[in-house]
Every structure is written in C-alpha cells, then in structure tokens.
Symmetry: D2
Subunit: 256 residues, 4 copies
C-alpha cells in the first residue's frame, strides 16, 4: 500500500440565481456579495484549504454550469427561488447525470422546487409556507451524523420564512434535522439522500429576506454537508450492462 | 385457491400499569375505567367487530401477561410510566419473544422508557421532557401510511406533556408523525419499526395528567396502529438454522 | 362511529405492452391471453371478489390509460420491455400524478426501465443482465411484511433472465426480497417505495421468455403487492400551499 | 475560525476471542498472529498513520476492555464465535454505553451472535448457515457509500462459511453489501446502523477456517468501515433530560 497522500482540495461550485440581490436594494444590502457569495464565504470559513470554492449564477452562459465547470466540480450547492423555470432542461439533465456519476449536491431552501431537485426526487417537492418572520428552531435528530458535527441543539434562527409539512419528498435515507416554527409547523429541514453514485443533502434554512446565510450555525451545517457529500471520486453514470456468466472471474474488477 | 374467509377478529390486549387511576382521584376522574379502559374503548370504537379487546395490568399475576394470554394476543398495547422497574424480566423476555415471532406491539407515551421497548430498541430510548400543559400539534409526514388514514393534519391536542428531541431510538423504518409543542420542541411522535416477524409502533401522545386518550384523533391513530401491526399469523421466533446445500430443492418450503 | 362497511372491491388495471404475444408464436403459446392476461388471472386467483381486474395495453388509444380509466383505478401494474419509448409523455405524467395522489403502482420485471418508473425514481434504474435461463431464488428479507405473507422461502424459479446489481434505484423504503441467480449475481428483487400519497412496489421476476407469470408463488407476491398498494382513498396530488399562521385552529382539518 | 488541525490518529481496538488460534494448529498456521492480528494488520495497511491500532482478547483481565481502554478507543472491532457466553455482562454493558456515547463498532462474521450485537440490535441476530467451503461473492448495492470506496464489484472469496437469510436484524440504516454463495443463499453482508451517538457496521466475511482476513478486499472494507465509524468526538450517553420552557434561549447550546 502506498502511504496516504494529502487529499486534493474539494472543488465546490456555489450556484444561485443571483437576481434578487441585483434588483432589490434591501436584499443587496443584506447580501452585498450575493447569496452565493455568503454561502461560499461560509464554506471557506469552515473548510479552509480543504476546499476550493467558486460561484456561478443563472445569467451566465449555460448558467455558469458548462460541462467543463461540472467536470471540475465535486460538490455543487443550489439556491433558486423565482426563476426555476428559466433553468434550461439541458443543464438540468447535465447536473442530474453528474450527480448520478458521483458529484455531491446540496439543495438550499427554496431550491426544493428547482427542476434539478424535483427531477432527482421524482415527486412534487411541494410544501406549506408563509413569510412571517417567525422564529425557526432546527433540532438534530441524528446526533452521530457528520452533518450534525459541532452543531448546537437547537439552532435558533430569529426570523425565517416558515416551511411546513407535508413536504412531498421520498423518505430521506437519513433525516438529520427537524425544524419547528413559532406558528407551530414542523418541517424535515435536513434530509440526506443517495442517488446513483452521488449524495444529496437538502437543508431548508436560508432566504433572501433574512440574513440566514450569515448565521454561524447555518454556515457550519452547509460546510459539513459539503464535506459529507464529497465523493471519493466521480465515476460514470450507472448504465445498463450486459454480462456473460462468470464475467467477474476473469475481470480485473472495478467499482459497482 | 379457496375463497377468502371472513378474517377472524384481531385479538388485542391493552396493557397499562393501572395504578395512577387507583391512587390519584383526579386521574381516576379523568380515566374512570383506567387509561387501559379508555384505550381499549378507542380501539373498539374504531375496529368494532374486527377486534376482540381485553385489558391487563401490572398488579395481576404475571402482570396479566401469562404465556396463555400472549398466545391468544395478536397485538399488545403498552402504557407504563412510574413502575417500569417492577415489570419482571421474565415477562419482558416473554413479550420480546412473542413480538419477534410476529405479535404486534404498540408502545404509548411514557412507555418509551419501559423495559420491553428499550430491550427491543437496544438504545436508551431517553428524551427531553417537561410537564407544562403545552399544546401539541401532531403532523403527518407519511400521508400514504395506513396509520395516518383518516387522521387530521395536524392533530391539535390542547394540553400535553412536552417531549423533545433528541429521542434516542434507532432510525424508525417508517416515520409517520412529527409533533411540535408550544414551547418550540419537536418530537418524532409516530415511529414504526419491524423486528423479527413483528411490527412495533411507538406513539407519544397520551398521559395520565391530560385526557388525551379521550381525544377522537388519538384514538383513531391507536386503532389504525393496531390494525397495521396485526400479523398475518404469529409464527416462530427466528433461530439459528443449519441447512445442507440445496435444502430448498426438496423442502416443501415454508416461511422465512 | 358507523359500523364498518364491507369494503368496495379494489379496482386493478393490469397494463402491458401486449406485443410480444402477438408477434412471437412461442411467446403466444406461453401466454395465450397475453402476459397481462396471466398477471390479471393471478391477481384474481388470490384476491377473488376483493378485486375487480381489467387490462390495458400499449396499442389501445392513449395506451388504454385515459383519465377516465385512471380515475377508476386503485392499483396499476406495469409490464414493459421493448417499447418504453413509445409510451407518450403525456400518459406518463398522468400516471405519475395519479400515483402521487395515492394510486398504487406495481412495476414488473423489465418495467424497471419504463418511463414511469425512472420518472418516479429520479435515477437511471439500470442494472446488469443476461438471458441464460438460469435458476433464480427469491429470498425474503422482511418476513413480517404483508407482501411476503404466505410466500415460500425461497421461491425457486427454474429458469429466468438474470438481473444483477448494481441496480440504480433510490434506497427502497422497504426491501422485501433479494434474489440470487445460478451465475452468482444478486438482485434486490422486491422493493417498496412511498411517493406522495402513493405506494410503489417493484418486483423483478417475470419475462416473456419464461412462464414466470404462471408460477404460483410469483402470482401470490403480485397479488399481495396489489393488496398492499391499495390506498385508503386516492386524494389529490400534493401541492404548494400558502397557510396563514394558526390556520389549523379554525380549519375543520383534513388529510396532509 | 481556526485553521484545521491535522486530525489526531484514530484509536482502534481490535478484539477477538483469541482462542482458536491457540488450540488448533491449522488455525494457528493460518493466523499466526491471531485473527485479531490479521485484522489489525489490515487496518494499519490501509489507514497507516491515520490510525493507532491495538488488540485485546477474551482471556485478558476484563477481556482487555477496561474502562481505561474503552476511554481511549474511538472504534472497536469485534470477532467472537465459540465463547459469546463467556463475555461478562458488565463488559457488554460498558461497551454498549460507549457505543451509544459515540464509539464506532465493527462487528465481524460470527460476531453476529455476540452479546454486544444482540443487545444493541434487540433481535435474535440469528441466520442460516453451513460450513462447506463455498465461494462467496460480495456485491456492492450502495456504490456511493464510503465503506464501498475502492472495493471491487464483486469481491470474490474462493472459500467461505455460508450465511443465509433470514438474518434477524433490524432494517439496516444503510445496506452496503449483499452476498451470494455457491449454494444459492443470499445474505445482507454489509449493514450500517446508527445507535445513540455511535455508528455500527456489521460485515460477515471472515472465519477461522478460511484465510479471509488476509484477503486484500476484505481488509479494505474493514479499514473503510473503521474510518467511517470514527466519531467526531465521543460524548455522553443520551439521558432523560428535564428542560424548562425556553431553555435554549439562554443556554450556550451544545450537542444533541
């Protein structure tokens, strides 16, 4: 066995629509470098040299998610809200294939209704909501999970958009966080999925109307999720394979 | 194939400690026929002739759970709070074996800390609590699950003991309900498990200090759970089995 | 409470491509009433008057799956192999919505690669295969599950197409059967999923080249699956819902 | 944020009965440093300086698992076969508590019937078996899982004891491997569980009668499992906690 090498830094692409911050001065003041900027900052803050973070937004060519960018992305984070329909189907298919090949995907807040998330889930991904500046408490229900490492119990977010059940998703492979809101709703706010060779984490806190992506604990969770979703290596999309009997006896063998 | 027979009625045994109601006049007034009486009533109310319900309590010989009683029980419901330690280990083992053989088990409220539940779970089954007459909202997170059939979303319970996470249980095979409490806590209040040939459902609403077992929706959930946990037939406890190669080719074949 | 009514019969639609049997005399001899005919026969054999079974095939108008037919279908079974691409996207969307609203869906054998299954799963649903008349053994890994009720352990199928892992599906909510094949492959052959208000079961045994749908145990599993997937009632597709604070206090309350 | 520190090496304790190798010359020749020696070697081979490995065996005082040893153990691996009953209940309780507090536990082969595994699972953990030198194929069913990283698909083990279903365990939180055996049996051979703050992995390959712990791929899986089971930090055993309303507003906040 060769000695373990220092691992190469994780290549993270932080994606968001990037429009609210340009159009609405209040949001621009809250997120002067964009929500993607705040999210990227939080990842760097926690992962330091373990990650190399770049951002991409909707209005770039191919939404900033060209084949070349995805080929160099180990984990993609996704925030969208008002312009889900403007995301090109071709890019959605490209991202989906990359996830099935192994790229990690972190879907944030209103990204629950993005094309890429509903495509990967197969359900409507709808939920109950209101925007009433209610307090959100994020409770850990899987304390041994790496995404919960170092996270306070509960995370207290003073003001947030309210999300409530029923959240129409497949049963998460791992349920990490459940939130309550001042109005009484509950929401499965931290949900881990495996699809193909890839890992997906949905995390609901975060909104353009509240400074949630500056919250130290929210940043910690997102950074933990990025680290957790990192693949050993991104391989190929699973495909239909014809195999003769006994193929494995002579084959060198490879991954599943 | 023979034509389907009218199914035999489900044999349900409702167990509780049966002491609070004898010692505390206020509780006696709330539950004149005991908490077991109220729970049994709710099951009968919903399942009618589909179930034959009896009750058993701690201070009966062998806690009312003799081999004979268990042999005639398809689903057992369990409520305990103050006297978990008084339940004989021999009876716990007997119930555990019956569950693994296929008997359904519905564990209610403070039964989370009973010997039988912690034995079957392998964890501490501890949680966070306070008794402050807070409003509990029980939200369905698995609307297609039979235990949620006909249940309002949310169930509103005006006053309840508060339970909160972290609830130290194995990940439920199916999470059906999540509650919020007025104080902000959340709790996985409806959890389904499979163990051996048996099915287990934990449902947290219900307490000696509040009339929760008279709540129509709580009764509906418990009745649904009893119906869901009913085995096709109670078979044998799984056991270590030595099998010669090809045993299945000549065997008549039987259940797993 | 009103006394329990005799339940209305389950409305089952058995769908298949219906082409192999018309084109290939050998297959026609094996399945003189079509594969759909054999499957329908097996369901009726086991569920008797509890089910009312009809069939539909690809070449009927709208593939026999009009809005009207789906509105009267509680459980749909799906067999496809050579003509997945010919299924109209509009019909796929219609079936998907009906499943999310609560209709049960049983996907059989090569239906793993159908549009409706891959749409609901969000993954490629690809696998490893060869057609070599190998013996398949279907082992129960969830003996308490209703779909395994009365099923021998293992089911021995003398000749079958071989399917092997990796099967690119989301982790099933419940894994009921795992198969081995004479050549050494294993396959998760019985997988239960919940999506929206609906239940989905994938069962891999069955092929046009082998008389698998005449196998008594295979028929039993399919009939069990149909009964398990039956909804309490088919409701609405989940949708994005705006709710004012405290909406549940005054609302009559309804399903999730 | 402080810059990330080089992580402290993982403290691994490899436990086995350590008797077969002393009593049976053939086994001694196969495993000259004991099975624990071979297992420890494999972990070191893969994790190198990331792990500090020691061994402990049944006949040491307190089976080599004193409070002091466990306090310095991040991950414990367990192999037992003939002497499960000789393990002191006090030590079992000690290990169980340490797992619930966060220590990783890797249970190997016939360890399925150990006191510690059955205690943590709550079921009989029984299975079907024969000792007939059959070929085992270990198939990956969760290719994105860290325990499957770099593992061939399938792992081919020329001769092994045969294990078959039904394996009476709770549904694993994550099913990573499924094996087939030449005789036709299948077995869920790689099963991940979370209990309390700790992670548990059961891996079935390995036996005193076959050189399985010298198999490069088996060693890789065990090393991967050790790395996966490593806790961020071992905390406290979950316990019943009384909390006043609003406790989280003033508390500094801590882990769940």
């Amino acid at each position: 066995m060769s000695p373990p090498q220092p691992p190469a830094p994780l290549r993270v692409t932080v994606w968001s629509e990037g429009r609210h911050e340009r159009r609405d001065p209040e949001i621009a003041q809250r997120y002067p470098r964009g929500m993607h900027g705040a999210i990227a900052e939080g990842v760097t803050e926690h992962l330091g040299e373990r990650a190399r973070v770049r951002t991409a937004t909707l209005d770039e060519p191919e939404h900033g998610l060209t084949e070349a960018v995805l080929a160099e992305t180990d984990v993609l984070t996704w925030w969208g809200q008002a312009a889900h329909k403007e995301v090109a189907d071709e890019v959605v298919t490209r991202v989906q294939r990359r996830v099935l090949a192994g790229m990690g995907l972190i879907v944030l807040h209103s990204g629950h209704w993005s094309k890429i998330f509903t495509r990967l889930m197969g359900t409507t991904c709808t939920l109950r909501w209101r925007n009433a500046a209610e307090r959100e408490l994020v409770w850990t229900v899987a304390p041994g999970h790496p995404i919960a490492a170092g996270v306070t119990h509960p995370i207290v977010i003073e003001e947030q958009e309210t999300y409530g059940e029923f959240f129409d998703i497949p049963t998460p492979e791992e349920l990490v966080f459940v939130s309550s809101f001042a109005g009484g709703e509950v929401f499965r706010s931290g949900c881990a999925f495996r699809r193909g060779n890839g890992r997906i984490f949905y995390f609901s806190p975060g909104d353009q109307d509240y400074p949630v992506y500056h919250h130290p604990q929210v940043r910690r969770v997102i950074a933990n999720a990025v680290a957790w979703a990192a693949p050993e290596r991104v391989g190929a999309v699973p495909r239909l394979t014809h195999s003769a009997a006994g193929w494995f006896e002579t084959a060198a063998g490879g991954p599943a």
